[in-house]
Amino acid sequence: MDPREFQFVFAGFCAAWIIIVIYVLTLTSRNRRLRQELDRVRKMVEKR
């Protein structure tokens, strides 16, 4: 494989993994936000 072709194939594979990793990070941060919100709402209900 010539170096230019290798660069494009490598870029293609990296792009695929980067998109998956970005989505996993989004899921993780959403998870953390939801857990914090759940704790906050639970405390609010307990107070009432």
Binding site: F8, V9, G12, F13, A16, N31, L38, R42, M44, V45
Partner: protein
């Protein structure tokens, strides 16, 4: 138990994808007639995974419209979100391949345009869900949009047969393509299976978040009821 299944699925997915990468780089003979053909091993399975997701979302949306159960709506939303991620992989890897093979990042041919339209419809679906607060109204509109999106998926699939496109014609033997050498096709399906396992894990995690969001909603309602 549920966590164990999740870890096993993720592991199976990663092993299958790694095995395909190994086959593509070190075992398969070079396809002299296709430039940078290795990208195909992510580009095609990502499209298959996305389409499987969109079809599942269609079934779930249909079930929601039939039964009115919000559980199906939540499932359709989770599956669609993950399918959009894989549709993005398909579009981006396709653009990188096009830059190498055709010298351009993009062209408005039938396959590329219908795929971009498909991505925009489902991205619109996700935006629509954020814009509507009322659950029943949100579920109904989302279900109709999901059905509309699936019509476009059919167009994407058939576009390379119906129109003369710059995009290559079918190469897989299941579509009477036969453009790949012996042993070249199987890794595409193995990678599809691997990506499908990873997608399933992501969908399960997304569904758990939906459960937490529903719990927050019901607690909020209970708090306001006092």
């Amino acid at each position: 138990m549920r966590d164990k299944i999740l870890y096993i699925l993720a592991l199976v997915g990663l092993v299958l994808v790694s095995w395909t990468l190994y086959k593509v780089w070190f075992v398969l003979p070079k396809q002299a007639n296709v430039a940078a053909y290795q990208i195909l091993y992510f580009h095609v399975p990502a499209a298959f995974t996305a389409f499987t997701g969109f079809f599942t979302a269609l079934v779930m949306s249909g079930l929601y419209l039939k039964t009115g159960s919000l559980k199906y709506d939540a499932l359709a939303a989770g599956v669609t979100e993950v399918a959009v991620v894989f549709a993005s992989i398909n579009l981006v890897t396709g653009m990188i391949w096009a830059r190498y093979a055709w010298g351009i990042w993009w062209t408005w041919d039938a396959r590329l345009t219908t795929m971009l339209t498909c991505w925009l419809i489902y991205a619109g679906y996700l935006i629509l869900r954020r814009a509507i607060d009322e659950p029943t109204q949100r579920a109904k509109l989302s279900a109709f949009l999901s059905i509309l999106g699936c019509v476009d998926v059919a167009f994407v699939y058939k576009s390379i047969e119906w129109f003369r496109t710059q995009h290559p014609s079918p190469v897989l033997s299941v579509r009477s393509g036969g453009g790949m050498g012996p042993g070249m096709e199987a890794p595409i399906y193995w990678n599809w299976l691997g990506l499908a396992c990873i997608a399933t894990v992501l969908i399960i995690i997304r569904m758990r978040q939906e459960e937490v969001a529903r719990e927050i909603d019901s607690l909020r309602r209970a708090a306001h009821a006092y």
